[in-house]
């Protein structure tokens, strides 16, 4: 399992890459994708959507089930990764490259973990 040091992590298994103080890329962690199994579909948010920390902003579907992806931050969807629509398997193959959305105008964020803390958190799961 991979935990890149430059990222921050939520307890609901999203990763956050802060681009500046108010902008971030958000995706799902390696642990999340391995728990979900083969992802076959992603229902992306729309650009301009307002997202709120600890609330669902997107969902991903495996063969067996639908799972919500929670937003680790409060802000506005500035951009979505449309390449995932045709290739949701990228979420499995390269979870830290397969960002889901770029969130801007971030006003709030949940308490995020660094790589070591997240790895320790996973170990307890």
């Amino acid at each position: 399992m991979n935990f890149p040091a430059e990222l921050q992590y939520s307890k609901s298994h999203e990763w956050v890459k802060m681009l500046d103080d108010a902008t971030a890329l958000v995706g799902i962690t390696d642990f999340a994708q391995s728990e979900l199994g083969d992802l076959v579909f992603i229902n992306l948010p729309a650009e301009g959507d307002t997202v709120t920390k600890e609330e669902a902003f997107c969902d991903v579907e495996s063969v067996k089930a639908v799972s919500d992806v929670m937003s680790p931050v409060t802000g506005v969807v500035a951009e979505v990764n449309e390449a995932l629509l045709d290739a949701p398997e990228k979420l499995n193959e390269a979870p830290y490259e397969a960002w889901i959305a770029k969130i801007s105008d971030i006003t709030d964020r949940e308490e995020l973990l660094d790589a070591a803390a997240y790895e320790a958190f996973i170990a307890q799961q």
């Binding site: 199994g37 579909f41 495996s62 063969v63 067996k64 639908v66």
Partner: protein
């Protein structure tokens, strides 16, 4: 999870890293680390293993076990032969499903009922209620044997490694067998829940389960979990209890006839009598028939049906989602997900399955019965309306060894209209026809056993004046059976036909001949029609009774298509009320030579079924048919029957070097005149009845079923050509037939020596006919035949008696007849065998060498070619302008 039950393979799953879940009270693998998508795809292109040991298995035995099963199952248990399985519903009294089940008959007097794991207790409670009235007993044997489903195109190949080359089962769905895998006794069923055309379920002692599983993994199979099992069955459109069978989300019972597959499992046979749910099911059946005839006036009994559904927009369907037609809610999704499939390119037999896979969102839906195939609907995908379509199916399994995904594509627009000026097309046609003729006649080695090049005389005669004319004629009793013609200008063809009849009587060795039938298939249809008419001749006030039983060669064992219910027998064969299948039974074949009829076993079959018609003859034929032995048997046992020999392929071999059907006791011979015979493409019927015989009336009926029954215009030109062919055959048959049989044996020997695998018995030189059969590897037939054609060798790929159908063909069927006519001898066939081996085994391009070989054999033999005959032919050619 301590209270969960575990199968014999639990430890194997855990060791393989499977994700285990609770499934109907069992701790089962949902997936392995490979995951569902890869497991699904591996099943479709190679072979997967599924642990199905959790399925409830109930042994039913006792004096009244059949009566009990007839009472509690929807199917016709009495129709279940030994070593056959059938799908059945356990119906409720109200026409719903307690469960769906598979019934296996591995032993004559014991039945194995396999039910869904989660339903086993409920099923047993229901069945125990019912069994009280019967002298029968049930024993649950779920724990005694493990059950492993081995599914996918390579499954047969892998299992045959374990069986030491022995066939796993007959190559048909639902066949069973008991055999040994490397010393372990197994019971195998050609069944499955994946939609794969090649797939088995193997039952083995619990102690040996892990051995079999690991051995198959060693051979290349991979484990697959319940997740893939579900996506595979969904793609195959198979119902799952709790989704498509049982009750709907509103708690209402789903009628059995709502499910397409389930309805095939329902029998209203008289033998079955009353059974649980019969009245309700009969009402549903009537409603189903109305729906299928698009009468939607009363949908009260069957308001909704289970149908495939494919999403056209983005998203994934899930069970429970609502389906709309406009604003009307017409049903809901019963099962849905994304399933993977391999993409493909090319068309028809040339279709190539690519390594690239893709996903599609498909499902099954329980929707209004008035929805038609290809109708558009909308699915509420979590608040979004997404367009969807109702396709007829998601997957087809009729081109083995692969199950083929069927992607929804709207009907394409009609092809562009042809150009207004047809002249360029006409010129191009002439050019291409000339090229084709030059290729087939000049450069090509033609080995299709059912084809022949006729002599120049036959060809010119076939095109000369009587062709394109009419000469209808009929015997009239008032004129002492003189033939009366309806048109003028027919005196020449009248004479030709009389001469042809005499030549064919002489050739066949019989008393009467009909030559107006224009094909072998038509010959058979005229005979079957006449047999049925003759059977009913004393009662014209009721519908005619059809023929049954009929004894013939099974199509998979080389039987001729035109003697099958799907061919010429179609409109003339009865349905057996007990089995509810065509009243046809097949010649048993020898265990050590599947190309040969087993005479002693055949006698038992005749004794049991008392067939009213026995049809000898095959299209894949290496041996003489045992006509004399069977004639002797039916005469001795005084079994009333008619013995017919469909000599389509071997008509030109009648004589001392093959067999003489009428001398051996056949009453009727049919044939086509252009395979081993020298003729234009026609049919012929000969019978050996005398005027004083009761069955002379059958002969007269055959004549009237030829005309006016089958033809009005009987192709006078080719009839004229056929007379010349008959002269040629009667003049040269001794040399020709001897050369054909010798060449076939020698070609077979050369092919074997060149390294190819030749079918048949080496002790008799592999063949007693014009045919030679070569195995090229399971499913490889079409590709190898195409490669040979590119190299100027035209053969026909053929499924052997062990294979599932023509797309899985692993053999080439060849005939030496046409090339023998062009003078090919042992040396030429030896050279050809070497070139074929080079091309087939080593992929060498041999086209130019083949063309050169053919170039040395251009002159037609066994026809009149002296100076006088040549001069007469030139005069005819000039007169006709051909």
């Amino acid at each position: 999870m301590s209270e969960l039950k575990r199968t014999q393979l639990y430890d194997v799953h855990v060791a393989a890293g499977a994700t285990m879940v609770d499934f109907g009270g069992w701790e089962m693998p949902i997936k392995y680390p490979t995951d569902i998508v890869a497991e699904h795809l591996y099943t479709r292109h190679f072979c997967s293993l599924f642990d199905v040991s959790h399925m409830g298995r109930i042994l039913v035995e006792g004096p009244e076990c059949v009566a009990f099963l007839q009472h509690v199952l929807s199917s016709n248990v009495q129709a279940l032969d030994l070593n056959q399985a059938q799908y059945a519903i356990i119906p409720t009294e109200t026409g719903g499903a307690v469960d769906d089940a598979y019934l296996y008959r591995f032993e004559a007097d014991r039945y194995l009922l396999v039910v869904n794991a989660a339903n086993t207790d409920k099923d047993l409670a229901h069945l125990n209620e019912q069994i009280r009235a019967f002298d029968a007993k049930m024993t649950v044997i779920t724990g005694d044997y493990a059950a492993i489903a081995v599914q996918g195109p390579k499954s047969k190949e892998l299992l045959m490694i374990l069986s030491g080359g022995e066939q796993i089962t007959e190559p048909v769905k639902n066949a069973l067998n008991t055999l040994s895998f490397e010393g372990h006794k197994v019971r195998v069923a050609k069944t499955g829940y994946t939609g794969e055309p090649i797939g088995y379920e193997v039952y083995i002692d619990s102690a040996s389960a892990a051995w079999l599983w690991n051995r198959l993994v060693e051979l290349g199979a991979k484990p697959a979990g319940l997740g893939a099992r579900d996506t595979l069955r969904l793609e195959a459109g198979m119902p799952l209890y709790g989704h498509e069978l049982g009750t709907d989300p509103d708690g209402k019972e789903i009628p059995v006839f709502a499910v397409s597959l389930a309805r095939f499992a329902v029998s209203f046979s008289e033998q079955k009598g009353d059974f649980v749910g019969r009245a309700a099911l009969a009402e549903q059946y009537a409603a189903f028939q109305r729906v299928m005839n698009r009468d939607f006036s009363d949908l009260s009994v069957l308001p909704r049906r289970i149908r495939p559904i494919a999403l056209l927009g983005r998203g994934v369907m899930r069970a429970g989602m609502s389906i709309y037609r406009g604003e009307e809610k017409i049903g809901y999704v019963t099962s849905g997900t994304m399933v993977p499939y391999y993409t493909h390119e090319g068309e028809g037999l040339e279709t190539v399955i690519l390594e690239q896979s893709a996903m599609r969102a498909i499902g099954l839906a329980y929707i209004a019965s008035d929805v038609l195939d290809e109708d558009r609907v909308e699915v509420d995908v979590r608040g979004r309306r997404v367009a969807a379509v109702i396709p007829p199916y998601h997957l087809r399994a009729d081109a083995p060894p692969y199950a083929r995904p069927i992607l929804y594509a709207p009907d394409e627009e009609e092809a562009a209209a042809p150009a207004a000026d047809r002249r360029p097309a006409a010129l191009e046609l002439l050019q291409k026809a000339a090229e084709n003729h030059a290729w087939r006649q000049g450069r090509c080695v033609n080995l299709i056993p059912s084809e022949m090049t006729p002599s120049r005389a036959v060809r010119i005669l076939s095109m000369s004046d009587p062709s394109f004319r009419y000469a209808e004629h009929k015997k009239v009793k008032s004129f002492y059976d003189a033939d009366v013609f309806y048109y003028q200008g027919t005196k020449f063809i009248d004479q030709v036909e009389r001469l042809l009849v005499e030549e064919m009587k002489d050739y066949l060795g019989c008393s009467e001949v009909e030559t107006r039938v224009v094909s072998g298939q038509m010959s058979n249809m005229a005979v079957f029609s006449a047999l049925m008419d003759f059977k009913n001749r004393l009662d014209r006030k009721h519908d005619m009774k059809r023929l049954g039983y009929v004894l013939n060669n099974h199509i998979i064992k080389g039987g001729h298509l035109s003697a099958q219910p799907m061919g010429a027998l179609h409109d003339y064969i009865a349905i057996d009320p007990v089995t509810e299948r065509h009243a046809v039974v097949n010649f048993p074949v020898c265990k050590d030579n599947i190309y040969k009829i087993d005479v002693e076993e055949t006698k038992k079959v005749i004794d049991q079924y008392r067939p009213e018609l026995i049809i000898f003859g095959k299209s894949m034929v290496l041996h003489r048919e045992p006509v004399a032995a069977i004639r002797q048997f039916v005469d001795q046992e005084k079994i009333p029957t008619t013995i017919m020999y469909d000599m389509a392929h071997v008509l030109g071999l009648i004589g001392d070097h093959f067999q003489k059907p009428f001398q051996e006791g056949a009453e009727i011979v049919t044939g086509s005149t252009h395979k081993t015979f020298f003729g234009s493409q026609r049919g012929v019927i000969g019978v050996n009845y005398k005027k004083a015989d009761l069955k002379y009336g059958l002969w007269e009926t055959i004549e009237s079923r030829a005309f006016p029954g089958s033809v009005s215009n009987h192709h006078l030109g080719t009839q004229l050509g056929l007379l010349m062919a008959a002269y040629e055959m009667n003049q040269y048959k001794d040399q020709y037939q001897k050369a054909v049989v010798e060449n076939a044996k020698s070609f077979a020997k050369s092919l074997k020596a060149a390294g190819l695998e030749v079918a048949g018995d080496p002790a008799i030189g592999y063949t007693e006919t014009h045919q030679v059969i070569v195995s090229v590897g399971y499913g490889a037939g079409p590709e190898v035949a195409e490669r040979l054609e590119r190299n100027n060798i035209v053969v026909n790929y053929q499924a052997t008696p062990d294979e599932e159908g023509f797309t899985a063909s692993g053999a080439l069927r060849m005939g030496v007849n046409e090339m023998t006519r062009f003078g090919f001898d042992a040396a030429a066939f030896e050279e050809l065998a070497g070139l074929m081996a080079d091309c087939v085994l080593r992929g060498r391009e041999v086209g130019e060498e083949v063309a050169k070989l053919r170039g040395r054999y251009q002159e037609m033999r066994y026809c009149f070619s002296d100076g006088e005959a040549e001069a007469a032919l030139e005069r005819l050619a000039k007169a006709t302008g051909v």
